[in-house]
């Protein structure tokens, strides 16, 4: 049997997804289900002075109008990431429904519950609210509190090596510019939704989340329940991208409403409400300054800037993480500050930090290449470090140069003529650009249960998440190889707190975290199976130790003699068992401290620019990645091109506009917040080096986020190549291209 890992297998849940039988959170119908609709604030800061709920309460079908006046008391939750030992997932410290205070425009302030959705929506519209509004701080340049966070994702916020500014002054060739990225929103097509039901003191919720155990912990904390009295299920999640990584308000608001009306409640956020009360990616303003010697070797690297957080959370978009690991430089200065604003708490969005960070850094590298009159691929090759540039540790795996060369070859980089505006397609300007992709390797604690049956099937369980990555498919492939079974004999169950513990599906960590647990559980299962056979007369396994046997062809066999073995059925039948199972819980070791563990890649973009209209269309895009071993070639490719697609949106289209006068999001819908549509996206190509990482489970890296990194810079660099115009503020809109001047290389 050839290994399943690496094969381009179809998704195991594909049939459910194409027949409409894959059920998402809002699709669980329970007896007596009522509908909850939230009311949101129309001021950015202040307090509610009065609710007039009379008309809403009189409206047909209304069961309750829940405001701070009649909401059950909830306890404060704990912020995401604030504990090393507990799965805390709180997204805001705002006491929603617990006080009259308002912390951002769009904050939930009431919930209307009615028999039908139309009744609830209408009644929600009838709730009249008066406020005592206070002036709000809403932009990166406002008077909000500015501070340096204590830590950035457990790392130091500032890194200084040598004299970066002095080296910049002295550099033979240099660039020094400011780049901005706007707020983005995730825009998973499935809006945030929860169905909540109480059974006495026990709570069950179906929620759209990337973290069932985090939501469970959050709900148990708020309602003062034991963890075992809360069950959270999310078997399918309609896209997350970080926006469902924490416990957002819909879950506890649905549970609150259900408690008040004594019926199960379904609460689905309207699309505008997803923008209003689920945080997005914070805007960034970044300075990148690079100096080099005449030979194109970096002499200094500066990457500093400001991002925003909110008054009810502290979130740091770690934009300078790529600069910690990508390039060798004797002088480095990396720093970051936050400004606290009266806005919905910002949160992780696909490639948090690395995504806006690579826009600035990789635009800067392109500007340096122009200044050096050096090919930008060659510039990157010349600055590849032999150890981690800021930590000094060896790399667990670094095939960055291989990825860069692979991408350049597949893309046909050699046909590029360096002079901006030198390539044309009729009236249109042609541009080719390159940028590095970067994302760290994260691994988290995880656990798993594995069961094999006499029929030769296996069930593998872990309360992790599927929101499009192909989790069940990849883990079934991994488990199948470990168990010596064909993939179609292995079933993987996920998305339920009744299953073994898993952390958030975030940070591209899930695949290897869960793979480690599955591997350990399978090892434990071998011991458990062997225990049934090792003392049995007539068993070819009699007297053997675990190290002497291996899973093979639906059973156990001597490692040194595959023919000397017996099937699961035979072992179990003799023992009078139908099945045997084992569980395991594993934590990462200290490899991440000893080694620099990162994923790399290179993004190549070809654009067409209409010089009159300033419109940019993507003609071709190639991504090449160094991400260890790929588990499923089909779903991995989908992850990469999906990341690239979202990156194209970031480059050309996406921006959440907040009216600075009120704090209201102006384009909180899918017509005005533009994500790419079919017509924006050509055939995309993704390749990978494929060398396994000797220090990760399965030799794999997570791949969900690296695909988006570097894309915006590759596009901006291609636009520069086409037009000679350097756009340093995203998105690259027609008006920006129309008003930008051509820059001539120094």
């Amino acid at each position: 049997m050839t290994p399943a890992v690496g094969k381009p297998l179809d998704r195991v849940d594909g049939r459910q997804k194409v027949t409409g039988t894959a059920r998402f959170a809002a699709e669980y119908d329970l007896p007596g289900l009522a509908h909850g609709v939230i009311v949101t604030s129309t001021v950015a800061k202040g307090r509610v002075t009065a609710f007039d709920t009379a008309a809403a309460e009189r409206a047909p079908g209304v069961l309750a109008v829940v405001t701070p006046k009649n909401a059950p008391k909830l306890r404060p939750t704990e912020p995401f990431g604030s504990s090393e030992t507990k799965p805390v997932a709180g997204t805001t410290t705002a006491p929603v429904l617990q006080s009259d205070q308002v912390f951002w425009y769009g904050q939930p302030i009431a919930v209307v519950v009615a028999g039908t959705l139309d009744q609830a929506k209408y009644a929600a519209h009838l709730v009249r609210v008066t406020y005592d509004a206070k002036p709000a701080e809403l932009t990166l340049d406002s008077k909000g509190r500015v501070f340096v966070p204590d830590k950035v994702q457990q790392e130091e916020p500032e890194i200084t090596i040598g004299d970066a500014e002095g080296a910049l002054t002295a550099a033979a060739v240099k660039m020094d510019h400011t780049y901005t990225t706007p707020q983005h929103n995730h825009n998973a097509i499935e809006p945030h939704a929860t169905v909540a039901a109480w059974d006495g003191g026990k709570l069950t919720v179906y929620d759209t989340t990337q973290f069932v155990f985090g939501v469970r912990y959050d709900l148990a904390t708020r309602f003062g329940l034991k963890l075992d009295d809360v069950r959270v299920l999310a078997p399918f999640v309609g896209g997350g991208f970080g926006g469902k990584g924490g416990a957002w308000p819909q879950a506890f608001l649905a549970a609150t409403a259900a408690k008040v009306v004594g019926r199960p409640v379904k609460l689905v956020l309207g699309r505008d409400q997803v923008y209003a009360c689920v945080g997005g990616r914070t805007p960034t303003r970044q300075r990148v300054a690079l100096g080099a010697d005449a030979g194109g070797k970096l002499t200094t690297l500066i990457h500093t800037g400001r991002t925003s957080t909110s008054t009810t959370n502290t979130f740091t978009e770690q934009f300078n993480f790529p600069a910690r690991h990508l390039y060798a430089s004797p002088n480095i200065h990396l720093a970051q500050e936050l400004i606290e604003l009266d806005v919905c708490p910002p949160t992780f969005m696909r490639g948090p930090g690395e995504c806006p960070g690579t826009f600035a850094l990789e635009s800067g590298m392109d500007e340096l290449a122009v200044a050096l009159k050096l090919d930008p691929v060659e510039l990157r090759l010349r600055n590849d470090p032999d150890k981690d540039p800021t930590r000094g540790t060896p790399f667990s795996l670094r095939k960055y140069k291989e990825a860069l060369k692979l991408g350049a070859e597949k893309f046909g980089w050699a046909r590029r003529t360096p002079e901006p505006g030198s390539m044309k397609d009729g009236r249109l300007l042609v541009g080719l650009g390159v940028a590095s992709a970067f994302y760290p390797v994260y691994r988290m604690p995880s656990s798993a249960r594995v069961e094999v049956t006499a029929a030769g099937t296996a069930l593998v369980q872990c309360g992790c998440q599927e929101m499009g990555m192909g989790t069940a498919t990849a883990q079934a492939q991994i488990a199948a190889d470990l168990l010596g079974l064909p993939v179609d004999r292995v079933k993987f169950e996920l998305g339920d707190t009744a299953l073994p513990f898993a952390m958030v599906a975030g940070g591209s960590s899930q695949t290897i975290s869960v793979a480690a647990a599955v591997t350990a559980a399978v090892a434990a299962l071998k011991t458990a199976l062997l225990a049934l056979a090792e003392k049995a007369d007539g068993s070819p396994l009699k007297g053997l130790k675990a190290a002497d046997v291996a899973f093979r062809d639906g059973g156990l066999a001597r490692a040194d003699d595959p023919k000397a073995g017996e099937s699961f059925g035979a072992i179990l039948a003799r023992a009078g068992r139908k099945a045997v199972d084992a569980k395991a819980e594993v934590k990462p070791g200290d490899e991440a401290k000893k080694l620099s563990m990162q994923s790399y890649g290179a993004q190549f973009c070809e654009v067409r620019v209409d010089p009159d209209f300033g419109t940019v269309r993507i003609k071709r895009f190639v991504g090449a990645f160094d991400v260890g071993r790929v588990i499923n070639a089909k779903t991995a490719r989908s992850q990469f091109i999906g990341g690239i697609t979202m990156g194209l949106g970031m480059a050309l289209l996406e921006e959440t506009h907040r009216d600075p006068r009120t704090g209201r999001l102006v384009n909180a819908d899918l017509a005005e917040y533009m994500v790419p549509v079919h017509a924006d996206v050509p055939a995309l190509e993704a390749y990978w080096v494929g060398d396994p990482d000797p220090h990760t489970p399965m030799g794999a890296h997570g791949i969900g986020e690296i695909g988006i990194t570097g894309v915006a810079a590759a596009v901006a660099n291609a636009v520069y190549h086409a037009t000679g115009k350097r756009i340093r503020d995203l998105p690259i809109t027609p008006e920006r291209l129309m008003s930008a001047a051509r820059e001539s290389p120094r």
Binding site: T42, P60, D118, K121, Y122, H125, D612, F613, G614, T615, R617, L652, L653, H657, D659, R661, T662, R664, V666, N667, A671, E672, M674, P676, V677, H678, A679, D680, P731, T733, P734, E735, M738, S739
Partner: protein, 327 residues
């Protein structure tokens, strides 16, 4: 949505009677604008009279080469109609540049004539908006007004007309046929829409209860060519940043007919007669087109975020004219 009564119209006359009888009654056709705005509580009818199945669904030739189109003809059907494809490409192109296939399958000609603005402050239901809540002010003037109009606006309202189809119809010299409480009317396209002035809540000359039953337009001059060009950020499924519908006839080396209308930049489908006059009698050169484009945007009032549209729409006009002149 607020509660409403729903009734299917038995006929056009019955529908008119039903809607005319109640000040908050509305006709429902494809629903792509009305249902959307009802969900936003921007439209709050208490009665919907569904005219979607009335047999106003014919596309018929009229003497002299024009077309008569029923109000219920779906945008997609009109866009792919042989006569439209062959003789009025500007209309087909405009229709197919609008919305999505799904929306075009639902949206009707009559409904599209009454498509309402996408101004975010109109749609949000809470911001000051003189169109939605007369007298409340205009949040767009000092707000995020990238999508707003630079032509035809007032200090009361700068909401952009959203329809692509209407821009094409502006250059086809369409007549809008109605049936209302006071009888039947034939309204020239040029007279149909109102600029906002101080009453932006009034968008057309229609009376309450007056039903659009169809549109009609004559043939284009024998040698005329037509074209619709739309520029937007996304490659599809987006309203225009700027668009132009053009009809150009060149005979003996000079322009004999020129019609130009603009979309995405004005408060109503925006014909530019001064630009047209400038073109007639001149050679169809880049210089002439540029001069016409300059005249077309005379009086444009740029706001904080939409100033680029003035230059952009000029370039769109030039490109559209160049395209038909070359074709």
């Amino acid at each position: 949505m607020n509660p409403f009564d729903y009734a299917r119209a038995a006929g056009a006359a019955a529908a008119v009677t039903q809607v005319a009888a109640s000040p908050r009654a509305k006709f429902l056709a494809g629903g792509t604008t009305l249902i959307d705005l009802m969900k936003l509580h921007v439209e709050t009818p208490d009665t919907l009279v569904d005219i979607g199945r009335l047999p106003l669904d014919k596309v018929e030739a009229v003497a002299g080469g024009g077309l008569a189109v029923g109000a219920n003809v779906r945008n997609s059907d009109l866009a792919y109609h042989d006569a439209v494809l062959a003789r009025f490409p500007v209309l087909s192109e405009a229709l197919l540049s609008g919305a999505s296939p799904q929306l075009r399958n639902a949206a009707t000609v009559g409904g599209n004539l009454l498509q309402r603005t996408r101004c975010p402050y109109f749609r949000d239901g809470v911001s000051p908006c003189n169109k939605r809540a007369p007298g409340s002010g205009c949040a767009a003037l000092g707000g995020h007004n990238r999508g707003n109009a630079v032509l035809g606006g007032s200090e009361s309202c700068i909401a952009t007309s959203a329809s692509d189809m209407c821009v094409a119809m502006a250059v086809l010299n369409v007549t809008i046929k109605t049936q209302g409480p006071k009888g039947e009317r034939a309204i020239p396209f040029a007279d149909f829409y109102l600029v906002p002035g101080e009453t932006p809540e009034r968008e057309t000359v229609l009376d309450h209860g007056e039903l659009i039953v169809g549109v009609e337009w004559p043939a284009l001059p024998a040698g005329a060519k037509s074209h619709y060009l739309k520029v937007r950020d996304r490659a599809s499924y987006q309203f225009a940043l700027a668009s132009a519908a053009v009809v150009l006839e060149v005979a003996g080396g000079v322009v004999t007919t020129a019609r130009v209308a603009l979309g995405g930049v004005a408060t109503k489908p925006w014909r530019v007669p001064d630009a047209e006059k400038l073109l007639v009698g001149r050679k169809p050169t880049a210089e002439a087109f540029a001069a016409a484009a300059e005249v077309a945007t005379k009086g444009a009032v740029p706001r904080t975020f939409n100033g680029f549209k003035v230059a952009l729409v000029r370039r769109v006009i030039v490109r559209a004219l160049e395209t038909v002149a070359a074709g």
